[in-house]
Symmetry: C2
Subunit: 349 residues, 2 copies
């Protein structure tokens, strides 16, 4: 790559990562009342099930929302399987079900088809999208505009945290929702503290073709999204999963040649994550931790504030992972704004 081309590399992705705190403020200013109203509606008339339909990055936001629904609303939650509908013609009885479709572009045909089936099956349908003029927005009962602004890097960053923010405002308990207005400030601190630490980590990971990322419950969403970013921008085989699922088999692949990056902070999941970290270190694995310092990291400083509600962690802990994906791509001479084989809008059927 020529020097000017290299300077331009990743410019869009890095700009979109950096602007997230501003976009969160925009989203809450413009959609905060709407989300609060929807939240009251759900509390007043609880559905029997909350069903999420999403693909890729948006599906990782749904992982966090799944835990929010169960722990905050005491309702079961599910992730839809669009192929059952689009390929095998399933028609579901979805009376008293809230269907939440999550899509940056709002254009994937399988998501739109699923929403149409769900409406016909009796569901109340809501879309969270960055494209209020999209096919998806036209297909649902109500739309929350993510107000993330144009996202031009192929790897989604600011639309992911906008989705998380909207889902948290929609579902989380009041004491957690009350903290959303100030979270942009904590995000700015995380982004500035993470910068140098992540450059060092990207250097250490420079030659690996394999990474495993892990977290438990809410933080399993961060593990999955971090892995997806690393796959998209750096072509690494990155496995992101719940730490419990890791123990049920995939942990066998960990050794000195595969680093383990954990998302772990103080909270009910801290002991399980500490055990995983110690197990990995005992086997000679290069383990590091993105968290608040409650679970000992190897080289990374504590990046998250102590005492943060676990529901809010995914919004902050993904920020260093996004920076890591951009830095790892650049260290390998890949332009993270334009990964091979991907385009901004993915259409699956």
């Amino acid at each position: 790559m020529s020097a000017p081309a290299q300077r331009a590399c990743g410019r869009r992705m890095r700009r979109e990562i950096a602007e997230q705190p501003d976009r969160w403020q925009d989203l809450l200013a413009r959609e905060g009342d709407h989300l609060a109203h929807l939240h009251e509606e759900i509390r007043a008339h609880p559905p029997r099930l909350v069903l999420f339909v999403a693909r890729g990055t948006s599906d990782n936001a749904a992982v966090c929302a799944d835990y929010l629904v169960q722990t905050s609303l005491g309702l079961p939650s599910a992730s839809a399987s669009p192929s059952a509908v689009t390929m095998f013609g399933a028609r579901l009885d979805l009376r008293d079900v809230l269907l939440v479709a999550i899509s940056q572009s709002g254009e994937s045909p399988d998501i739109v088809s699923y929403v149409e089936m769900a409406r016909a099956g009796g569901a109340t349908t809501l879309a969270l999208t960055n494209a209020p003029g999209s096919a998806l927005a036209g297909a649902v009962h109500d739309v929350v505009d993510l107000h993330a602004g144009p996202e031009s890097a192929v790897a989604a960053t600011k639309s992911y945290t906008a989705e998380l923010l909207a889902l948290t405002a929609l579902i989380a308990p009041d004491d957690v929702r009350a903290q959303l207005d100030d979270l942009h400030s904590a995000a700015r601190d995380v982004l500035s503290a993470a910068g140098p630490a992540v450059v060092e980590l990207a250097g250490r990971y420079r030659y690996t073709t394999r990474v495993v990322t892990a977290g438990r419950a809410f933080s399993s969403a961060s593990a999955r999204e971090a892995a997806l970013k690393l796959m998209e921008t750096s072509y690494v085989s990155a496995h992101g999963m719940s730490a419990a699922d890791l123990l049920h088999g995939p942990i066998a692949l960990l050794d000195q040649s595969v680093p383990l990056l954990c998302f772990a902070s103080g909270g009910p999941d801290a002991n399980a994550m500490t055990e995983l970290v110690e197990l990995g270190r005992g086997q000679g694995v290069d383990v590091d931790v993105i968290g608040d310092g409650s679970v000992a990291s190897s080289t990374l400083p504590p990046l998250l504030p102590r005492g943060l509600a676990p529901q809010l962690r995914p919004l902050l802990e993904v920020l260093p992972a996004q920076l890591l994906a951009a830095e790892m791509a650049l260290a390998r001479g890949i332009d993270p704004d334009r990964p091979r084989g991907l385009s901004k809008v993915t259409r699956t059927y």
Copy 2:
């Protein structure tokens, strides 16, 4: 490894793979009437939601069951998140919900805790387990004994297909259930045809540290289970996923250095799988296909019978993948009966 030790390597896993057709006959002989009765109960009194709780291999059987519930019963289906309950104290309203717990050993504490919460929340609870004296079996309303016999290789094979068989007998439509009694015969054909082809494929994959496996809908369960077996026995970073999810990001990591193994046969998903196979080949990826010949493979012969119901595919197409996992381990000097870092019963909390 010494020569006698090498001969003993993988003996248990290979024996357990080979005995699957016999175990299927046992299961249907002993539990067929019970499963038929449960099937009638579900049809007569449909729950509002079928919820599966499982980990590891059993969770891959739940992926297939998820599609069965939606396409056969027209009901929504969900995969439980045990951590929401065990770590964050979620208490769900599960009235009129059927909870199906799937576990070979029946001993993972988080699965048992989830079942106890579900019963308290009003769910009807059913366990599919190979251990009818286990803690799980004691916690549910009804138990289906998988009759897989003692499974001594750490990597689960015969318990996985016993789970699939029981789930299909429980949920699938009558015309599909009617074919289960004869499926052992097709399985014997698949196993004998797959043997030499898989040895060749294991030779081709001998030095790779990365593989991607993909299928759509029912066959996405096979892709996930194949990847898990490869991770467990051969320490390969194997990504197994729905072909649609692959297109939404992870496909960027595919190139000449990462083979793609697809599960694809004739059916409503054939066109989408053909597109993926051609896309991969166009990018120089080493693509092969386990299927019935409807989607062109590279070196593998057609291994599945033509015209098989898509719901039955997971039972047959995982057989070559199990053999591949055993062969790849042996080619690398790993004993697939005793992978590092794993034990037969995994306890997560």
